[in-house]
């Protein structure tokens, strides 16, 4: 029927294989370039004692606050926060395919992903969005770290005038700030606006017992690339099921084959696992520190009886960028997730899942 209509491109999954001991390893870059992280979980294929698991406690907090856009271009904000640390902000609205989204990425770029109506009233120069119907969304980028962005200059005055006259609406933002010295979450002074401070809380008591755990050593080395790809994708399925603690991977699961014929990738063995979970507006630096402590923990474990761990991170589906300022949108889904399988000798496998509308890769 729909012969004359071309199908849109499909979602993508990138798999890479490397080691943290290599100097060219990209793992830090991958974590730090992904600014808007909504959800994190870490899986260990055994039960970890409570004093050891507290090694991974890494407190952070963020704010939920209603702000007008003019707040972001005030000199005090740029001097005290943008230039002396890492501020990340994302507006909470209906969705990037239906409403305006404002974001501030870790490099200090204010990104306005706007609907046609808002853009035409705004009066700032932007580019049409890469995705969606032709010329229905526009992206305006303002680099807050640029030297010419000072009061008195024409560009600054124009932006200020626009934020005071045309786009005066307040948006609800999630904001986190990490000082460059301490690399810890720090306070932001929002006066006169009322901000709600939210602590990111880690949940350490997630134990799944009697699950079937596949042998992840089979994809540790690439011998046959084609076969490795197939195996790696199957393992990714299993990671997904494990992260939602699905009953299909329980060792005593007896489900009607009409509902599911899933089997974990072979060879597998029964065992226990434990999870660390965290939801919120997680700063990338916190994730990087967690990654480091997980790989250190695996390497320093005396008996080497924990061969690997999995770190899953889910990005905000409606974020305007995924990795490294690459534009992101929402089609039928807005995935921008990544997962690391870290082995105890430093080897890791990285999965990056991206929705249809994404320019990364």
């Amino acid at each position: 029927m729909s012969i004359f209509l071309s199908e849109p491109v499909k979602s993508k999954l990138h798999i890479s294989h490397s080691s943290i001991t290599l100097t060219k390893s990209r793992h830090e870059q991958i974590i730090l370039d992904h600014p808007f992280n909504n959800n994190l979980n870490i899986f260990f294929p055994s039960i970890i004692s409570s004093e050891k698991i507290n090694l991974f406690n890494n407190d952070f907090f963020y704010y939920k606050v209603d702000l007008p856009l003019s707040w972001f271009i005030e000199r005090d904000f740029i001097r005290d926060y943008v230039k002396s640390g890492c501020v990340v902000a994302l507006s909470l609205t209906e969705g990037i395919d239906v409403a305006d989204i404002i974001a501030l990425d870790s490099l200090g770029t204010l990104i306005l992903n706007l609907t046609k109506d808002t853009y035409e009233e705004l009066g700032l120069d932007g580019k049409p969005a890469k995705f969606g119907p032709d010329k229905q969304r526009f992206v305006v980028q303002i680099d807050l770290k640029e030297k010419s962005l000072i009061p008195g200059k024409r560009g600054y005055e124009r932006i200020k005038w626009c934020f005071n006259n045309t786009l005066t609406k307040k948006f609800t933002f999630l904001i986190s700030f990490l000082k460059s010295g301490t690399k810890k979450s720090s306070e932001i002074d929002f006066s006169p606006f009322n901000a709600e401070k939210i602590w990111g809380n880690f949940d350490f008591n997630n134990i799944c017992d009697n699950i079937l755990i596949p042998d992840l050593n089979m994809i540790k080395d690439i011998t046959n690339e084609f076969q490795w790809k197939l195996d790696a994708v199957e393992i990714y399925d299993w990671i997904g099921l494990a992260s939602i603690q699905a009953r299909r991977i329980k060792s005593h699961d007896q489900v009607d084959p009409f509902i599911s014929v899933y089997k974990p990738p072979e060879p597998y063995s029964p065992g226990n696992g434990s999870f660390i979970k965290c939801t919120g507006f997680i700063p990338s630096l916190t994730i990087k520190e967690l990654f480091d402590s997980v790989s250190k923990f695996l390497q320093e474990d005396e008996n080497k009886n924990i061969p690997w761990a999995i770190i899953n991170v889910w990005g905000f589906k409606d974020s305007p960028i995924s990795w490294n300022k690459h534009e992101h949108g929402y089609f039928m889904n807005g995935e921008n997730n990544y997962s690391f399988i870290v082995y105890n000798d430093g080897t890791y496998i990285l999965y990056q899942a991206l929705g249809t509308y994404d320019t990364y890769s």
């Binding site: 029927m1 209906e94 395919d97 239906v98 035409e120 119907p133 229905q136």
Partner: protein
């Protein structure tokens, strides 16, 4: 933004039960993430009654408040005129007071001659067909092409397909032929749901659209971009002079929009503005496609004046 441009308005809105039923449907639309709804009033025969549609009050929150998951939805009114007799004058022009009291005007032609007429000349925004039953005529390229050129949109209502299986079959086949003839252009998908049960979320409708022969991106346009075009088309038809200028009193501007009138007039006391003399000319921005259709409309109104 997601639109549902056809929510049947209860015929006897005074009855409490029907009012709560309407509220239920609107609540569900908000929950699904729709941002615009149009209440539909269907008329067969002569246009003599005034607009019965009253917008629900609690949803008119100020649009300036930061948007979380608040209860707000833009409400429009729509009239659908069922035309059975081509020779009768239905008075479907913006000079008719009853017609201009509605935000959107739709027609439902019942035979081929009227369909051609509706596509070619009638001053409307939407052409709707009863797709739940067998159409009395084939949809042909010629008149449809004319309608697309004029910026008139065709409507597919999905609720009949949910109500029973016979009309589901008819609807899918009719919708497929419409998509084939229009090449997927100028189609909107609306609900026409009489109960809250018959409503579906936007992404489910996209999947439904793939059954009708569209791809996912086009189906998504049918509930977002295309509906926006319909609303814009209706606005230019109603509020503008020859689709070029519209007039608004200065007092309708909010305090933070006063810069639009220019520096010299900022001192005017808004409360005392003289409506006759000082009205503001507001330019309507037109995209290229819009411009073509506006020209057509301008011609039509010229003809009528002659």
């Amino acid at each position: 933004m997601f639109y549902d441009l056809n929510l049947p308005y209860p015929t006897q809105p005074n009855i409490a039960q029907q009012q709560t039923e309407l509220r239920k449907r609107v609540d569900l639309l908000i929950k699904f993430g729709y941002q615009v709804v149009a209440y539909n009033h269907t008329i067969t025969g002569k246009l003599d009654k005034a607009n019965p549609i009253n917008k629900l009050e609690t949803y008119n929150d100020s649009p300036d408040s930061p948007s979380g998951k608040q209860q707000k939805i833009e409400q429009l009114s729509r009239i659908t005129v069922v035309i059975e007799d081509a020779s009768q004058n239905y008075g479907l022009s913006s000079t008719n007071n009853i017609i201009s009291s509605y935000d959107i005007v739709a027609v439902q032609p019942t035979n081929e001659k009227i369909f051609q007429n509706a596509c070619g000349t009638l001053e409307v925004d939407i052409i709707t067909l009863e797709m739940g039953s067998r159409l009395p005529f084939y949809i042909k390229h010629g008149p449809v092409g004319l309608a697309i050129e004029r910026g008139v949109y065709f409507e597919i209502c999905y609720a009949p397909a949910i109500r029973d299986s016979a009309s589901r079959r008819q609807l899918i086949s009719n919708a497929q032929s419409l998509v084939r003839v229009t090449r997927g252009k100028n189609i909107i998908i609306t609900s026409e749901a009489q109960k809250a049960m018959e409503l579906r979320g936007p992404y489910d409708i996209v999947n439904l659209g793939t059954i009708m022969g569209m791809n996912q991106a086009m189906a998504k346009d049918c509930i977002s971009t295309n509906c926006r075009a319909v609303v814009m088309h209706a606005k230019t038809r109603r509020n503008t002079h020859r689709a070029v200028v519209s007039f608004e009193p200065i007092s309708s501007l909010k305090p933070n929009e006063l810069w639009k009138v220019g520096d010299d007039k900022k001192n005017i006391n808004v409360g005392k503005t003289d409506f006759k003399g000082k009205s503001k000319v507001k330019r309507i921005r037109l995209s290229k496609d819009d411009e073509e259709e506006e020209e057509n409309e301008a011609e039509i109104s010229q003809d009528m004046e002659i």
